[in-house]
Symmetry: C2
Subunit: 138 residues, 2 copies
DNA sequence: TTACCTGCAAAGAGTTTGCAGGTAG
DNA sequence: CTACCTGCAAACTCTTTGCAGGTAA
């Protein structure tokens, strides 16, 4: 937390200079126990609320994109007007609550051994993402 | 084809009047053997190319949304700047080729019996969508 | 000092909406 | 005739880009 060394290393490893704006973004994204699902505007609101200083949209996009490229953030495949990101970069899937639009993690082993039986010549599988849409039980 | 009766019925069943613009959209969407994955702008281009007459964007959006609401089209969950739709409304999944950005159908039984072991109290599963990202084999 | 970064504002892309004239029933 | 529909353009939202001043190394 007060130890920014880890965040400085993280930023350098993606080729970004550790500026104070980026360190704040790091703190919000990575200084937490639980998985965090967010959109860019969620992140912007949190920065505005929790932190005395403003960080411009351009900087937020740029930083999030760099983390995503390096694999420190995952982009979640749901159809939405916005892009959703996830700080949980392990192999896992999602519930999407259609009522509240909330995302919930679904562990890889909460799914019976998922296997794709069809193959495409000359192509290999890069990732498998499962989205389970849920709604109220009535 | 020359028999529009089916399309007229389809349009009425979603609460839309069978206008000539909408019948053209129907012809493109539903008068085909194979599944059709498209974006609104794909559809617009096809209309412009194959059909002598112009159909406005507003009409295309409105018609596609009505079909989707009624379940005659499925929206595919991928993260993209655009929305993708699918004329295959059976239970199935997709390959997404990361090289070409093309979508390919993946039959439900091309996936080993998919089962979600985790449940959320008070919620039930509405749908399960699997997206398999593929890329060149090198 | 140099290369990179920031904030701002403008520009882009996809989608939605308001409205005046047109058409199905 | 009435309600609904069409095309157009403007408006909106999210995202990207250009640029002038600022900062890390």
């Amino acid at each position: 937390m007060s130890d920014n060394t880890e965040f400085v290393k993280k930023l350098r490893s993606v080729g970004l200079r550790p500026t104070k704006q980026r360190l704040k973004i790091c703190k919000i994204l990575f200084d937490r126990k639980n998985t965090f699902h967010f959109t860019i505007s969620d992140l912007q609101k949190i920065i505005k609320t929790k932190i005395e200083e403003k960080v411009s949209l351009a900087t937020i996009y740029n930083t999030v994109h760099s983390f995503k490229k390096k694999g420190y953030l995952k982009e979640i495949s749901i159809n939405s007007d916005k892009s959703y990101y996830d700080t949980n970069i392990t192999n896992h899937h999602h519930f999407l609550d259609e009522e509240t639009n909330e995302l919930l993690d679904l562990d890889d082993n909460d799914i019976s051994n998922l296997k794709i039986k069809k193959t495409i010549p000359g192509k290999k599988i890069k990732s498998i993402e499962v989205l389970v849409k849920i709604a109220n039980n009535n």
